[in-house]
Symmetry: C3
Subunit: 372 residues, 3 copies
């Protein structure tokens, strides 16, 4: 069972081409993604309502997509606008659409009740397209349930064991993180480590424009169902970093890890590691990207093996340890949302009044590209 | 659920060798096919009744097949005629047999109640072995339910979209076909297009022995569960083609498309395209065959993709369009037969009196080969 | 459903390395095998009790294994002895263990109730490590239920058909075997053939140190769930072989065939063929091994094909023949044990008092290696 009433990532912007059709299964549903004439992304169920032919084998015609089995043509609202050789189009000849928004270089999709979709709820990943930051987008396909990936992201003890030669050596040492939970909205976990008046790590030294002692930090913020944001860096000591002030010379990274369930046992995973320095150093961009890929493949090997054991022995209890605090909080937030949706469905309750826009059949928003 | 009380195609004659054993799964059942000493085809369940060893790993011994696990030998009636080292053979030591008939270069099998099997009911494909016609037999394995293939064969709107460079250009244009349904017996659909006093198509011109205006036609006849026969051609105008008279110089084609379910989501497909001219032109035979293969592979790509979406979203409704008339009629005829079989099974009704022969254990008929 | 309260083979001794971790699925459960510092085999469920990570991706640390996901360390009794960064270890932080014994070059495991495990019940395969015998250990993985392999081993009629060029020619001829069933304990079948005052087979002649007439024998002893022992040879006539006395010059073979279910449709199979002559002739050891492999691959092809038909047609009855006596007895003994276990489980009966040792968490025995 998946949370449905939330914005999920569907693709990086560059995964959805300008001139052709792209398909991906999300929450067990086949989804078609393409761009209209203005470049805005359209999301339809990847199934012609006539005879279930997949639309991704069809043809993009302007803002529309034509099924290449019998020629039915659908507009971005999923409404059939042409049946070859037939004057009248029956009213139910519609393909299901999904609210979709392009923001911060990601395509966001709403798989639940369209009337609840509000783009204000999209998690902010401004560093993806800010001129002050630079990153290379990454994607991994996982043979594992998305919650096993979240467990991994919110756990720090595994760094020393799974990543002894990559992420582990530095992060494994040091003080315990602080965990805070904010239950407002979908809820948010904040897991932070601050090192005051400390030596600068070598990684930071090699790129810093200053010398001397630093205040440095690692702050993870996680929002259900599967959105991790990480803020890490070093600032000259006494320049106010702990109080929220970041001087321009501070060495800063932002990390993105986002999952969307494909099926119960497979997942999509988008990631990147952004920085605020040497923006035009393409070799550095690539090097940072490759470092992340190496570490993430270490995780994938373990998590996919874990999924196999869970599938083989699904009923065995999991014995908790102290380091589970983060992942337990995340699972609690996920379960809370699933229960809330279940209650909503069962009671057919009145929709919460929000400032959500009125979604049409496509529920599509203008993207940045469109408004420029 | 499949129709069982009907003749299905099991193989082209050349698929069943003279000296060895051939197996194929039909309607979820493994079937063994081989030829007796006179060349007549025998059909047994591909399972030794002793311990379920497959008989196709056995040995053909004259008219019989010997299981090569423990040496039990079965005659063409499925009766065990030898248990090595044992004098008495218990009476139930029999392998299930199926009525089978070789006709028009196809091996036909009856998977239902043998007492209802009457070779008179086999659909007539005389052009497969008539001296006046020439064809090359074709076979395709499909990862899709057989009814999706039937949908495709009885629909003409897809020609323009799936086959724009092969079948589509010519057939897509032109007048609407007439559809007639005959509910007698298994039922028959006839879908016909006549073009009176028309120009000859280029394809026909290149082989015709005459010039000038023609009456030309495309007549599809479909019989459940999965038998398509197509009659197409051009005759000099005014020579009586519309009234049923075909002058010798008429350019004529006959097409065969036959499916048999292998499982719920896989199918066997036999096809050919016969002609009544240039019979000894082997290059033309091959060229016509290849043209059909190219077009049929276009269909297969779409239909197998369609099956995947149906398997992923099995409960979505299919929205009708006007062009579904043909396939709706076919599905109606199939459903009628399935219901009739279900009623028959439930009531344990008396069998309909027919002029059917008495089937023995094998229910095997003499083939043309035998009677020559 | 599998018999659980019995000793199963888990591996040849050489399959479990000294310095690393080995995993194998037995009775649907993933098992980790490794050796402690003294070389004794430890068997744990291949699943960290924390988050289901497989332990075979972990690290052997002395007598212990460390899960390489979050660093939990388990001792040979399955007890967690370290949680990194955590002082207290909750009492249920344990991995399931299995009683395990290394004997006669095999690793034996008890998958059922540990309190019932008594190493005295392990079937005796002394020729695996006796200085008077020589063999090369073999292993086959089977895509078939283990009972189909037992059927094969206890049946002699298949030799002529499956092995016409290997085992079949000699054994197929000759007198009927005697079958005896002993219902004590797990039960035992003894199937024996004695040829008194007979010619020596060529195979024996080529290695015998004597000439003339012999008493020769083939004695199969089978114990459920899946232990075959074979004793075959030739002794000079009149030297007491039929009465149980084997003179030193007797040419003797001992054969081992052991199965353990992996899943309902896959199995592990360990085998060897030992001899009491030319012990240091390595070429002969290899040749005997290869002869067995060739014959066993003939069986595997048939049995895996048989499994496919059974999976396709699971409800068809099996028609008995006279030669089924042996396998019917074996199935009866297996069913009796399964029923006994089911009765035991249902009644939650008091455990039978035996001279079984008290098993700790690991229930591990000292192996020969340890006691030397």
């Amino acid at each position: 069972m998946f949370i449905r009433n939330c914005w999920y990532a569907a693709a990086w912007d560059i995964e959805v081409p300008d001139d052709s059709l792209f398909t991906r299964t999300l929450l067990n549903e086949p989804v078609l993604l393409y761009r209209d004439n203005r470049g805005a992304v359209v999301a339809l169920e990847n199934r012609c309502c006539h005879r279930s032919a997949p639309l991704h084998l069809g043809r993009k015609e302007g803002d529309c997509v034509r099924c290449m089995y019998h020629g039915l043509k659908f507009d971005p609202q999923g409404i059939c606008v042409e049946i070859p050789g037939q004057a009248q189009i029956p009213p139910k000849t519609c393909v299901k659409t999904f609210p979709v928004v392009e923001r911060h270089r990601l395509v966001w999709i709403w798989m639940g009740d369209p009337s609840l979709a509000n783009p204000k709820d999209i998690v902010d990943y401004f560093w993806h397209d800010s001129p002050n930051w630079r990153m290379k987008p990454g994607y991994i396909h996982y043979q594992a349930n998305y919650k096993l990936i979240i467990d991994n992201l919110l756990d720090f003890t595994h760094l020393a064991w799974v990543h002894p030669n990559t992420l582990g050596t530095e992060s494994a040492a040091g003080l315990k993180p602080q965990i805070e939970r904010d239950n407002n909205g979908a809820g948010t976990l904040t897991i932070s480590r601050w090192y005051h008046n400390d030596d600068m790590p070598n990684l930071h030294k090699s790129v810093a424009s200053f010398e001397g002692k630093v205040d440095r930090w690692q702050i993870y913020q996680w929002t259900p169902p599967a959105f991790l944001r990480m803020d890490a860096g070093s600032a000259p000591v006494g320049t106010g970093a702990p109080e929220g002030h970041r001087v321009p010379e501070a060495v800063q990274f932002r990390h993105t890890s986002i999952q969307t369930p494909e099926t119960e046992t497979t997942s999509h995973y988008w990631f990147c590691q952004a920085r605020n320095f040497e923006l035009d150093n393409e070799a550095l961009t690539e090097q940072i990207y490759q470092n992340v890929v190496v570490a993430f493949e270490e995780d994938r090997a373990m998590i996919e093996a874990q999924q196999k054991i869970i599938s083989q022995l699904p009923d065995r209890p999991m014995r908790p340890i102290g380091a589970d605090a983060g992942l337990n909080q995340a699972r609690w937030l996920i379960d809370r949302l699933i229960k809330a949706e279940s209650d909503l469905d069962q009671a057919q309750a009145l929709r919460v009044e929000t400032d959500s826009p009125v979604w049409g059949h496509s529920g599509r928003f203008l993207s940045n590209k469109e408004t420029k």
